[in-house]
């Protein structure tokens, strides 16, 4: 499948490498040239300098034929808007936005957007891990 990753931070770069290693066609959109160096040296996919809410940038990344779009910049609002553009305007079926703010994630979840909230996930993992150990010790 053709996957577009918006935002080349640690998560974006790793996702891009992972999807490519599985034989997918990957395009990465990132506004900071330096951030693109996070990609593996042998990354073969397209890299597009620009913002993921810009139509021209999205088209250069091949949004019209994309099977999936993942918005993982470090800015919630950019992710929310980019994901909505992919979903509403370009009718991409498989779209996901990362939203750090749990409140915001709730709202956009209600609006029908597929989201992941790292804050909630991390809190749950840490809480469960600490609780499990405490229970093990019989505390």
């Amino acid at each position: 499948m053709h996957v577009i990753i918006i935002g080349c931070g640690r998560v974006g770069a790793d996702l891009a490498a992972t999807f490519e290693a599985e034989g997918n066609e990957v395009a990465v959109i990132e506004k900071d040239r330096l951030a693109l160096t996070r990609l593996p040296e042998d990354f073969k996919g397209r890299t597009i300098l620009g913002t993921g809410i810009d139509d021209e940038v999205l088209r250069r990344a091949g949004i019209e034929t994309a099977d999936a779009v993942v918005a993982v910049t470090n800015y919630d609002n950019t992710n929310v808007v980019a994901a909505q553009i992919a979903k509403e305007k370009y009718k991409v079926k498989n779209v996901l936005a990362r939203i750090f703010d749990p409140k915001m994630q709730e709202i956009y979840g209600e609006f029908g957007l597929e989201t992941v909230c790292p804050t909630k996930v991390t809190v749950k993992l840490i809480h469960d891990s600490i609780s499990a150990k405490a229970a093990g010790k019989g505390a």
Partner: protein, 219 residues
Amino acid sequence: MYAIIVGGGKIGYYLTRTLLDNGHEVLLIEKNEDRAHRLDEALGDVVVHGNGTDIRVLERSGITRADVMVAVTGFDEDNLVVCQVAKRKFGTRRVIARVNNPLNEDTFRMLGIDATVSSTRIIYNLLEEEVGSNTLVCLATLSRGRLEIIEVGLANDSPAAGKAVKELRLPIDCVLMSVLRGDEIIVPRGDTVLEGGDAIVALVRQGGQGALRAALGAS
């Protein structure tokens, strides 16, 4: 009317001020602490320091009773999110978003925000109008498009204003048919002097528009 404004740049500041002067209740939300502090001193107790795209900040600002939400930050994604949240989550009746990049207007509309203001677009439209008094309009095409009847509005500062027709460097395949000046219709001859505000109707062979444009100083 109670209006919440997000973004305390020049637009946010003057908008707040204007609304206050007209007796409205206003709250201005600004992200930068220094700036929020200075705005508060200048405007009196109507500024909140905080991120206007943060739900908690909006809730504390009394968004549920706001009549209008105006998002005028320098970031289109922020303005769009503020307006979407206000409209869809809190049911704010009227939301207005500033669009910094005019290419994003379409996106805003598509994502449910109809009332947008783009200063780039406004200034561009004004320029168009200004230029419009000096442009070239095709009235009719003849001989399957090989000939065109064209109307050119002459601006006051056009280099052709004040010149006699014979002084113009008209393209070869071009005839000036008439000059419309107010209610007057003039059939121009070589010694007819053109004036700013004249509308000139010309017959020109296809491909000669550029030269005619140049001769009349139209853009």
